[in-house]
Amino acid sequence: MAATPEKPPTTPPIHLKDRRIAAFLAWLVPGLGHFYQGRRFKAIVFFVCIFGTYSYGLALGEGRVVYAPTRDTGEQFRLNLGGRKLAVGWRQLQFLTQAAVGLPIAPAVAAAYIDPDGSLPLAFGNRWFMPPDTQELNELYLLMPRRFEMGTLFTLVAGLLNILAIFDAYGGPVILEPKKREEDEEEDKKDGEKKGKEAEPEKAA
């Protein structure tokens, strides 16, 4: 008797519940949307990887790499949207990407818009999350050149990764089909040829 080939693990049926709520929760806290859907392993993976990357980046930049842009938007570039020209600051774009992490950027919004003077004991009492002006930003780059850059990079990557997680919560995984074995492909070919031969006499009739 020929040994049956080992089947690859099949994907269990996925119940996405309310996709929109799941996507919103996935944005709010990385992994929360998946936890709501009962996909606990993925929830843990997303939370640890995305929140971990964000936190590590924030710590590297001593809390100064995540800030909501206020008046001083710094350097800008122009987007041409169907004839309409839109000026976008690099810092706004940076914050938009970081904002994909969800709730963890809330202190930055609070620091910029609720407590711009830094009078409230927000975020560890230091100048964490406070939007720097251009001069302060230059000083930060001089003080911790590599760590500041790396901190910014890590928080940006965390935001981009959470976008993937949000799509996964909304639409489920992009299941990759296992590669077909050569034997299977040959069988498919033979089946196709057989069907072709069967169809020929019918056409002739």
């Binding site: 693990p9 392993f41 993976v45 990887c49 990079l153 890590f154 990557v157 799509f167 990759l176």
Partner: protein, 61 residues
């Protein structure tokens, strides 16, 4: 090499490969296996580039 900035890439590769694999599979084992493949591929690709740059800088002297 020990004090190199390249070490910053390690947590990024781990996080990226796990998240990427998790968005493409549902089964736990498949996620881990796929993440390992992706991680090794990225590390290999970066390592290859590193060696290439090293060689170019060696010959350029």
């Amino acid at each position: 090499m020990l004090g190199s900035d390249l070490w910053y890439a390690v947590p990024l590769i781990v996080a990226f490969s796990l998240v990427y694999a998790a968005t493409r599979n549902e089964d736990r084992q498949l996620i881990l296996r796929h993440a390992l493949r992706v991680g090794l591929w990225i590390a290999g690709f970066m390592g290859g580039l590193y060696v290439l740059m090293l060689a170019i800088s060696f010959w350029a002297q």
